[in-house]
């Protein structure tokens, strides 16, 4: 990831327009979306880097809230790049995951032992169904 400090600062400001702090939830910049999380995000989706850097350069001298709003209206494709990076990096944050109760797509071995809770409902399906449509 080749974003310099100015570009990262711009991203942090834009990111906070999309995801500000609210209650227990941190703002995107506080969660670190313009730091290491950005590197990880772009490593997973490298095609986002070039258009992201282009729009960050365009945003540098703009008022960030107005820029983000205008981008969403004027250029949905570019806004999709920005929002994907911001949201993607935000949910890489362990702090954010903990706060929303998300453990990640982690293993959770299943149990197939015992009688399923749904069996009484399934018996009613069986009783009321007329069977499949014959085609012979």
């Amino acid at each position: 990831m080749s974003a310099d400090s100015l570009q990262r600062a711009t991203l942090a400001k834009l990111a906070d327009v999309l995801i500000p702090g609210s209650g227990k939830m941190p703002a995107a910049s506080s969660a670190g979306v313009a730091g290491e999380l950005l590197n990880r995000c772009l490593s997973a989706a490298p095609s986002l880097e070039e258009p992201l850097l282009a729009l960050l350069e365009a945003a540098e001298r703009c008022e960030h809230s107005a820029f983000a709003r205008d981008l969403a209206t004027r250029s949905p494709e570019d806004f999709a790049v920005l929002s994907t990076v911001v949201v993607g990096a935000y949910y890489l944050s362990e702090q954010v995951r903990d706060l929303i109760g998300y453990p990640g797509q982690v293993p959770s071995p299943l149990s197939i032992a015992g009688e399923p809770e749904y069996l009484p409902m399934l018996e009613r399906v069986y009783e009321r169904h007329e069977g499949y449509r014959s085609a012979e």
Binding site: V17, L18, I19, P20, S22, G23, M25, R40, C41, S43, A44, A45, P46, S47, L48, A68, R69, A72, T73, T84, V87, G88, Y91, L92, I100, G101, Y102, G104, Q105, V106, P107, S108, P109, L110, S111, I112, P116, E117, Y118, M121, L122, R124, V125, Y126, R128, H129, E130, G131, Y132, R133, S134, A135, E136
Partner: protein, 550 residues
């Protein structure tokens, strides 16, 4: 771009059978024929994918969908992919590589209904298949075993089937959805999936990561690189990867001589074969036939009817997300089908459309997916309705508290929905891209509208406090059917009931392209069962099979 160099001077040993495509159907045919002693060469334009290639066990799992493991080849742009052009209302998605679409599929296992094979006779629309459900019954059970399917037998909406593994738990999302269906008195059943609920065959037990569609890191989801290729390779199949088929050449008698392809260095080669089997999916096989035009077949190989590429079907799809107050752990997998419903899969006299839809309940994945679905459906809310404080409110409401009803409709075979060669755009080998022309019929629109309304009712009966209704998905769900339809009449079909082309006596097509009509079931079970049926036929009739002149 791969450089196109000179033609190879090396002579390859002739194969009994050359198969184009190592995806779902090509894997079944290659493995089955090799098991019975055929010399099989399989030509695959992509390479191998293994758990080491996936991001599914990383925190970045959701980001895999953005690019590298996106199902749309126009987004993914892998070296094996070819462009899909055109302004189709629904654009096909696919994966090119060993295992094909089954690397990324959700593994939903859904045999078709008996009536799906007789739509013209029963409902006056579409085309009847030249075979019946009964002709596939035994193969459905054999491929279910090969694919380590987990499911619950006894669904009264289907003929009797067998599954080798007990069903997956339906989870909190399935229980919530089932309560809604129970309240309404509608059909539902625990989903069958080609995901192992316990260690079985070549598969490990599912760990419920919910990353099925970006590659299973646990080797618990059935994909041919696990279920078919180890045995096929040990039985002697020669699998040539990173090889793009360019043409099926003919001999002077009009029989297929083999397959011309570009190898990974861009060298053009001929693989001679007695029989050629196309298994490159309904887009890829049609494209290859159209690329193989000649003086004998100026409009494309095996295309005397003009039907090659036509009657593309894709199961147009919408979703209804049910948001509940309950904690549903909705990120938890598997991302197959928790439960399904065939309540509206048949023609209903009170409706203004014919045929029907299959529904299935799925989790929502991680927070990116959950909020993304909300935002895609609510673009009308504007910036302040989607971002800022609204973003946090949406995540709090939806994430972990919702399930999705997927609505998968039967689109009828229509000649104007088709695959053609793009006159300008080419792939990295310089071959014309596939241009897709596809529009929804009024029948499909009415079907979607009716089913979405019913799914909203089902969500509300389940206790939903909010429902999120998507539009018709502009990229498909990986179900590409039609384009080389099967039939007994050579004037109205491309292949016969054994999937041999009417025009070329040693050329077969075995992928979803041969579906004369598509039903509403997820097609993989039927594609695999039919491919096995055709392989058995090739074995049984090997002494009668016509072949190219030596």
């Amino acid at each position: 771009m791969l450089p196109i160099q000179r033609r190879s001077e090396r002579r390859f040993e002739s194969a009994d059978v050359a198969v184009v495509g190592a995806g779902a159907s090509g894997s079944v045919v290659s493995a089955r024929l090799a098991e019975k002693g055929f010399r099989v060469v399989c030509i695959e334009q992509g390479g191998w994918s293994t758990p080491a290639d996936y991001l599914s066990d990383q925190p970045e799992a959701e980001l895999a969908w953005v690019e590298r493991w996106n199902p749309d080849p126009n987004i993914r742009r892998g070296t094996a992919d070819y462009p899909l052009t055109g302004d189709a209302e629904v654009r096909p998605v696919m994966f090119n590589g060993v295992g094909g679409g089954l690397v990324q599929w959700a593994a939903m296992w859904q045999p078709m209904l008996p009536s799906d094979f007789r739509t013209k006779t029963l409902d006056g629309v579409g085309e009847d298949w030249p075979i019946s459900w009964r002709d596939l019954a035994g193969c459905y059970n054999r491929v279910a075993r090969d694919m380590s399917v987990s499911g619950l037998v006894g669904d009264p909406a289907l003929p009797e089937l067998s599954y080798p593994n007990p069903p997956m738990p339906i989870g909190k999302i399935g229980m919530a959805a089932a309560r809604g269906m129970d309240e309404l008195g509608w059909h539902w059943w625990p989903g069958a999936n080609a995901i192992a609920s316990r260690r079985h065959g070549h598969l490990q037990a599912c760990q419920r990561r919910g990353t099925c569609m970006t590659g299973c890191p646990e080797n618990a989801k059935a994909t041919p690189s696990l279920t078919h290729w180890p045995k096929a390779l040990s039985d002697g199949v020669q699998l040539i990867t990173e090889a793009r088929a360019r043409e099926i050449p003919l001999d002077s008698q009009g029989r297929a001589r083999g397959v011309v392809y570009f190898d990974k260095e861009g060298m053009e080669r001929l693989q001679p074969a007695q029989v050629v089997v196309l298994a490159a999916n309904a887009v890829g096989s049609a494209r290859l036939l159209l690329l193989s035009s000649s003086g004998r077949f100026p409009d494309g190989l095996a295309n005397s009817t003009g039907l090659v590429g036509r009657r593309l079907m894709q199961h147009p799809y919408q979703t209804v997300v049910a948001v509940l107050a309950d904690d549903l752990e909705s990120w938890q997998g598997p991302w197959g089908q928790s439960i399904y419903s065939l309540e509206f899969a048949e023609t209903r006299p009170e409706c203004d459309f014919v045929r029907g839809a299959k529904w299935m309940v799925m989790p929502h994945g991680g927070p990116m997916f959950a909020v993304g679905e909300h935002q895609a459906a609510h673009g009308d809310l504007g910036f302040d309705g989607l971002w800022g404080e609204a973003f946090h409110r949406a995540v709090e409401n939806i994430f972990g508290h919702s399930f999705t009803w997927g609505i998968q409709t039967e689109d009828l075979p229509e000649d104007h929905n088709r695959v053609v060669l793009d006159p300008e755009v080419t792939d990295s080998s310089g071959l014309p891209a596939a241009r897709v022309e596809y529009e929804l019929s009024e029948n499909t629109r009415s079907m979607l509208s009716f089913n979405v309304s019913r799914a909203v009712e089902a969500a509300e009966a389940a206790g939903a406090t909010e429902t999120i209704v998507s539009g018709v998905w502009p990229t498909g769900i990986g179900h590409v059917l039609g384009t080389t339809p099967m039939g007994d009449d050579p004037d109205s079909s491309v292949v016969d009931r054994w999937c041999r082309t009417h025009d070329v006596s040693n050329l077969y097509v075995v992928d979803g392209g041969v579906f004369p009509s598509g039903g509403s079931a997820n097609p993989t079970a039927t594609i695999l069962a039919n491919a096995l049926r055709v392989a058995d036929r090739l074995i049984a009739t090997r002494r009668q099979q016509e072949a190219a002149a030596a």
